[in-house]
Symmetry: C2
Subunit: 213 residues, 2 copies
Amino acid sequence: MEQITIIGNGHMARSLAVRMIKGRHSVLILGRNEGKTRDLVEFLGAGAHGGREGTSIEGDLVFLAVPFEEGRKAVSAYGSALAGKVVVDISNPVDLATFDRLLVREDTSAAESIALLAGPTTDVVKAFNTCLAKPLEAGSVAGFPLDVFIAGDSEQAKATVSAVAANSGLRPIDVGPLKRARQLESMMLLVMGLQVNPEHKNFNWDTSLKILP
Amino acid sequence: MEQITIIGNGHMARSLAVRMIKGRHSVLILGRNEGKTRDLVEFLGAGAHGGREGTSIEGDLVFLAVPFEEGRKAVSAYGSALAGKVVVDISNPVDLATFDRLLVREDTSAAESIALLAGPTTDVVKAFNTCLAKPLEAGSVAGFPLDVFIAGDSEQAKATVSAVAANSGLRPIDVGPLKRARQLESMMLLVMGLQVNPEHKNFNWDTSLKILP
């Protein structure tokens, strides 16, 4: 069982926390809006507690469940408090005005940018970015466990994230080094674009990207 | 029913032809190796006939079922014979020596490169690149029809390819303009890398990338 800190109190924070509590992990929710954090902790029940973003991280596994730029700010603000920890970037740096481009250069990724910012003493892992909040909270889609694609340069850090995903009822897939985040983020530009396109009546933020079987 | 020309006589040509003949289309296989083309046409049976690459295209829908560079050569060689036709690029320009990079620049795609070469009188569509040969021939994976992601700048050309995919028992998904091929090709760098990685015992060129449900 891990003590996990989730920075953020929105839809993705909620879904990650639900799954991880099912996996019998303990979750600390750190949010900016205290009322929203309190509501989420109450909804999550046993296994969850809350605090204000900026207060101490608990455990060695930290999820950035906030938009990319907010994640960067959190990593900067926590600074050396993240040394020795595994930081999971779940972000999709998609231009939400157009769903036509990424907000990072083509020769890098949000995850690599966060790793650069965090420095060499923190292991940054890309994971869960292909999971949309609603199916992630459910844990499965069409009877299959969700796929969690995991990219990172530390085998040990990826093993930690894989174990948490697996005992939360999901299927972890190690996709290689952190730079594979470019592929994962790129694909979500396309997948998220489908969700907002009214021509795709069946795609309403309730789908999952999977490798079958 | 379309008359379809498939350039190539390998695994992907075979799988595309099997599905399209199931969809009651007629297929012309154009290959370099005459013996291999004859064997494939014999295997396909009614609905298929063959010829040598370089001889006349039949119908208005042409699949480039050859590697990216071969596809470029075919488009150059056919030249104005492709005017007014829909050309489908199914390629994955992946460095097969490393499975670590694409053979096209990050700000373009194989499909866009082929469209540039073909010129404005030919409609190039990216499709079927996320389908591996074995599951494509079967048409379904884990009980679900395969997803065919379709990118292109001509709505009419995409509608033609969508219709062929649908009546071949597959699920077409229009993912937007031709530049979305960058995302489709990028993701396959990752997916193909999983197939060749011995650590992923369950991935053996028999999987499919799908949006569920």
